[in-house]
């Protein structure tokens, strides 16, 4: 017999999380405060995401967990094992087979489907934090829709670097209202946030914030008319394993001599393509 409740958390905690999730869904892009619970893993291991997943799971779910696009990192494996144990859910590495996907720093390359839930682990939920450290001030800025300072800062970037110098956690505007931090995904992934058929939930454990993008929500990356947003990636590169031209690539060191190559950051996407190619060749 198990000594813990289904999905680890007690029912009162899950009710609190569930109420916060529903308010987050009702107010897209707004950060709902919640009382974060101790989880049997350290902060930085995605305790915010883990609590959201625990609040949403049903026994029939199939869970996928990725860390920087990979299913096989220590972080991803331990979270997947945790839920297989405390919620007896099936797990998968296949994006298309998962009903809930918990992720750190990536959105899968394969298009998400209606009915899927993508849970993001968020370290710093406040997109205005780098402009204004005081929570009371950033809260007022969101309340008044006072985002002028953000616009000024991004324009200063352009003046200094010729572009908005942000490769990760590139801020977005949700339904023309709240400015939101999409978590440290590469800006390459930003277009996937927009009009996504899946429900996207964001959990920050240490900062005790939950926010959400309902399916089919309009999500625009901040830009300027004369400097439109570009989801850049290394130009002309393709994956050394599967040949993909359209995926986000990681540079990996291949030997002691400093040899390196570019491969898909999304391991399931890459492995699926390699398998299809092997089948075609056979």
């Amino acid at each position: 017999m198990t000594a813990y409740n289904f999905a680890y958390l007690d029912e009162a905690t899950k009710r609190m999380l569930r109420r916060a999730i529903l308010k987050a869904v009702a107010i897209p892009g707004y950060q709902v405060p919640f009382s974060s619970r101790e989880m049997p893993m350290p902060y930085g291991w995605g305790t915010g995401g883990v609590q959201l997943t625990a609040a949403c799971l049903v026994p029939e779910d199939t869970l996928k967990v990725i860390d920087q696009g990979a299913d096989d990192t220590t972080n991803a494996v331990s979270i997947r094992k945790f839920f297989a144990r405390v919620a007896q859910v099936a797990t998968t590495e296949a994006t298309g087979a998962a009903s809930i996907i918990q992720t750190r720093h990536r959105i899968p390359e394969a298009p998400l489907q209606e009915g899927q839930i993508l849970v993001f682990q968020v370290p710093i939920p406040e997109p205005l934090r780098f402009l204004e450290p005081r929570e009371t001030e950033t809260r007022t800025m969101h309340a008044l829709e006072d985002y002028g300072l953000m616009q000024v800062r991004l324009y200063e970037d352009i003046a200094r670097h010729g572009e908005i110098a942000r490769a990760y956690a590139y801020p977005v505007r949700v339904e023309g209202r709240y400015i939101m931090d999409p978590s440290p995904i590469p800006k390459f992934d930003n277009p996937k946030l927009d009009n996504c058929p899946a429900l996207q939930l964001f959990g920050a454990g240490r900062e005790c914030r939950i926010y959400a993008l309902p399916p089919y929500t309009r999500v625009e990356s901040l830009d300027f008319e004369d400097y439109p947003f570009t989801p850049s990636k290394a130009a002309g590169q393709c994956c050394a394993l599967c040949g993909a031209m359209d995926s986000y690539l990681d540079e990996v060191i291949t030997d002691d001599a400093g040899g390196r190559m570019f491969v898909c950051s999304d391991t399931d996407y890459c492995a699926t393509r390699v398998a299809v190619q092997a089948e075609d060749a056979a």
Binding site: F6, E11, K14, R18, K23, Y30, E175
Partner: protein, 188 residues
């Protein structure tokens, strides 16, 4: 406690998880009618409304019972299963009743500009839910959805308060459909 007290969830962690996913799907897809069954609710409370209460309401969430729902069997059931303090509409985190009994939306907490989440969720008991009537658009809706809203004009006023405003769950028998404040309400 009355003799008519009906049971709550037989297996709370599992049944609440299933119920929440249905409620979440409903809230994430405004106007979509979802099933929500498995509970023998105290009359006049619907099974769907009782499921919502068991899943989301407890001693930390003040509840307003309106009209015919403010009766001994429902009050006893709430006291036994939820432990939620029963309050007037101004203090309610959740409210339960028919559209007419619940009264004007403006009397419920709307949240503040800084904390729009501190707003009420209304469970509105309906005769039937139908995917017809008012045209709904906005977050969660691919192109458009339709739902037989009791009073589109009042709900349009609520939506105009965004990001403030109340969120609504319409319940009937073993069905639920949601209307968060983010939904734009067009004509029938």
């Amino acid at each position: 406690m009355t003799a008519q007290l009906t049971p709550g969830f037989a297996n709370p962690p599992i049944e609440a998880a299933h119920a929440f996913r249905q409620v979440l799907e409903a809230m994430a897809h405004p106007g979509r009618i979802m099933g929500l069954a498995g509970i023998a609710a105290p009359a006049p409370c619907s099974a769907a409304a009782a499921c919502v209460l068991l899943t989301l309401v407890d001693g930390t969430t003040p509840l307003h019972l309106a009209g015919a729902h403010d009766c001994a069997p429902v009050r006893d059931w709430v006291r036994f299963h939820l432990g939620a303090p029963l309050v007037g509409p101004q203090e309610a985190a959740f409210a339960l009743g028919t559209w007419d009994a619940l009264g004007p939306l403006a009397i419920y907490p709307q949240g503040s500009a800084e904390y729009p989440d501190r707003s009420a969720t209304l469970i509105v008991e309906c005769v039937a839910l139908q995917a017809s009537g008012a045209r709904l658009t906005g977050p969660g809706i691919k192109d458009a959805a339709w739902l037989n809203l009791p009073d589109p004009a009042a709900l349009r006023t609520n939506a105009a308060l965004f990001p403030r405003g109340v969120d609504i769950m319409f319940t009937s028998g073993a069905q639920i459909a949601a209307l968060p404040r983010s939904t734009q309400i067009g004509d029938a």
